[in-house]
Assembly symmetry: C2
């Protein structure tokens, strides 16, 4: 007879929910990368049903007792960690009553639909009447989760994306960055102006060639095409499941660099997924990637830390020249480095460079926290947004299309997500620094297109550990210190001022 | 209060099962058209779970009572037809005990795996030890279904693919064809020898051009790209769901005709799916395509009846010349017609032409019926197969790779499927004949690339009726007569002897 009957039952239930979520991941990838528009209605029926079934699987009657019983059973370390994550899943799934979940889902769809029209029209007033009830429902759900988790309302929402994330920690590192950024950006722009200008590369760059180049770079970084694919979608993403990772990109025949760096970014996400613990832990909560902070750290480590480095661009330059049958000084590593690390004060987050990106995030974080905590009203969003841009970046949007209407997150119901971008950038700098300290040959290997020392370290120190420890513990054990913006600042100073 | 509470409950349950089956259809398409090999294990978990959930949905406790109660409720015609199909689904799902379903599924997988090695090795003895237990389990399941349906064992298996199909009817029309074919094939070959030979078209035919040509032809036939896609897979098929039909093909740069005719064939299937009743009947049993006989009739009507006709080839010839930038006498309609209607005695069913194809099917039908009914042993299959080929086609395979090992059906557990190919060909001839009788302008329109009169008739007479009537009723109401090989024979005589 099993000594862990409750835990064993839980593993079976979460395997079932995990399998349903795997199917949902494939259906969701298909929706973005393959599905014709006319398939949308039928697909939304499928997705809604599978989500309901997954939800029912982990919120069935007796789940609370089962979790309590399992806690008293003799579990090993990974089992206990798994149980911990099961409880988190259950809290998030069960804390919010079904009617609120449904109301929220409808309010999200309604607000996102209005936003799709309001954004191009730069008409914040148009979306305000649907944003207000959505925010009210998000706050209601957040309050319910806050009570169940025993944390503040913002942290409860953050916990959906970054488990155990705490705004007190974010406040500390963001304050550090906020003090650093304005002066640093001034200095970086001055240093850039003193150097030869980056010369643009002239296309056209055929889509088929870009695709082949993207696949080549994916393979260089360690992407296993027996367990994944590269396709196209309007908004690039990393989807699928660890055994079958689907990344997407979008091609612009006049400019290949954005797609190429996008592919490298998504490959960073993909490598994390591909390296997650397999076997028994596949489809279990403990086998999942830890959270969005570390997920983003993996994409940014590849895109920003490794692949905009002079070492990588030395390796990449001849490949680019061969792929596009191009030559000349513009295609030499020094110009490529200037192109790939150009700094500019800009209004749109998704187009922002590594140096100014944190400012975009810090502004959004402050605003969403104030809105969620009831310290600000949605009516005041445009003004506060523009103030933030003036203060941190010295520029202000001419209209709300380039301002507070630019991102889908809030209008689609994703509150508490924004800080993970910059937490990821900070973690990426810490992890890349620690990897190089442990394996000084990493930059040399990268210059030769060999990512195995780097990937090997990431696999051991991070990927294969799944969610067996907290983000803080994983980071501390891999880098010897907790979350700390100083390594990121050093990286920025070295690259942009050095 | 509803006057049809049991029926209403049934519609909800079958909608749920239908939605799960829709999700399975997308996952299954992806498996063949997109998934990397390394995704197979995780995908099989997803598919097994969704199949189990769909099965449980329609075999839950009380389903039998619910079906009985609904039968006593005041239902309209479509509701009653829906209930009839619900009962059929339930009988097929519930008749076979769960342990037999599982044993069958394992035996199918095991036999198919051995067959994949035995076929290239032409080694029937190798697959025999896994074929025997598989056949035994198929017979066991067939006997259970036969009892539940009140029909013979072969008809019970046939019913899975062709609802209400009866081997007594098949025996009758196949006997008619069997008497006709050997002499007809002699005559057709003699007539062919007396005409100028078909001259082959010389490539290469770039894949991208073939793909574009395929899409053009799909649009000509009426395929709605807002509700479907064309992709590639090793074995071409029509998958997806009525709102989002996914067809596939395979390109050979030395020969475009097979892919083109394959695309037209799958488009015929797709048009049937796209024309099925929508709204309330989507995802209900009555909203599904009637069965494999009529499904195959739709693909063969497009491929064989319409698109190998002189009218269509007159329309297609300039498109082909333009697509491949080719010209000369080989690309004129008369040579294309000779190419697209070439007759040859051959050993492989999937490569067979329209005139000899029925012989391949009749041989298989006789053999599988004898095996299922216990009148023959699997050991005797190769000898009986070769006898059949000698008798009906005057040739015999040199080995079992080109003989009884060529098709996956039996080794994968699909018994009772084969006759539907030729029932489809016969029905296609009847339907095309009736359509032209009703709308004499159809051939003229086809010569102009206008399929709307033909498709309109098919939509009204067949597609939009879903499974609201039996195959026999649909055919009789559309054509004025039951299944009858005479129109098919007339078509063959006219095309190949005329």
């Amino acid at each position: 007879m099993s000594t862990t009957p409750a835990y064993t039952r839980l593993e079976a239930l979460f395997a079932k929910a995990g399998t349903l979520n795997d199917a949902l991941a494939v259906l969701s990838w298909d929706m973005s990368a393959m599905m014709p528009d006319g398939g949308a209605e039928a697909r939304s029926e499928q997705v809604a049903l599978l989500k309901t079934l997954a939800h029912e699987t982990i919120t069935g009657p007796g789940m609370s007792d089962l979790l309590d019983q399992a806690a008293a059973e003799p579990l090993d370390g990974w089992e206990r960690a798994n149980l911990h994550e099961m409880r988190r899943d259950w809290v998030h799934a069960a804390a919010v009553p079904a009617d609120l979940v449904e109301a929220l889902s409808k309010a999200e769809a309604a607000c996102e639909m209005v936003w799709r029209e309001a954004r191009p029209a730069a008409d914040f007033a148009r979306v305000l009447p649907t944003l207000k009830p959505l925010l009210a429902l998000v706050r209601e759900a957040g309050a319910a989760k806050a009570q169940a988790l025993g944390v503040g309302i913002y942290d409860a929402l953050l916990d959906q994306y970054e488990p155990d994330g705490r705004s007190a920690d974010i406040d500390r590192v963001f304050a550090d960055l906020e003090a650093f950024l304005p002066g640093f950006v001034d200095d970086a722009l001055a240093a850039q102006a003193a150097r030869p200008p980056a010369r643009s590369l002239l296309g056209p760059f055929p889509r088929a060639v870009q695709k082949e180049l993207g696949r080549t770079m994916m393979a260089v970084l360690g992407f296993d095409f027996d367990h994944g694919r590269l396709d196209e979608s309007h908004h690039p993403f990393c989807g699928g499941i660890p055994d079958d990772v689907r990344i997407t990109t979008r091609y612009d025949e006049d400019n290949f660099t954005r797609s190429l760096m996008g592919v490298i970014h998504e490959t960073g996400h993909a490598l994390y997924e591909m390296g997650l613990p397999g076997g028994r832990w596949r489809r279990q909560p403990v086998g999942r990637a830890r959270g969005m902070q570390l997920h983003e750290s993996q994409s940014l480590l590849m895109e920003m830390q490794a692949c905009r480095s002079p070492e990588f661009l030395t390796f990449a330059a001849p490949l680019l020249r061969r792929a596009f049958q191009a030559d000349g000084p513009d295609w030499q590593p020094d110009n490529l480095a200037r192109l790939f690390t150009r700094v500019e004060r800009s209004l749109i987050r998704v187009d922002a460079d590594e140096a100014t990106y944190p400012a975009h995030v810090i502004i959004r974080y402050g605003l969403e926290k104030a809105l969620i905590e009831g310290r600000m009203e949605p009516d005041d969003l445009p003004g506060a947004w523009n103030d933030g841009y003036r203060r941190l970046l010295g520029i202000a949007p001419p209209d709300d299309r380039l301002g507070c209407l630019q991102d889908i997150h809030w209008y689609g119901g994703a509150w508490g997500y924004f800080p993970t971008y910059t937490l990821g950038a900070i973690s990426a700098a810490q992890l890349f620094d620690a990897a190089r300290a442990a394996h000084p040959e990493i930059p040399v290997a990268i210059a030769e297109g060999d990512f195995t020392p780097l990937l090997g370290w990431l696999r051991t120190r991070l990927h294969s550990l799944g969610s067996s420890r907290s983000t803080g513990d994983l980071l501390a054990q891999a880098t010897g210190r907790g979350l700390d913006a100083s390594v990121f600042k050093t990286h920025l100073r070295r690259r942009y001022l050095g």
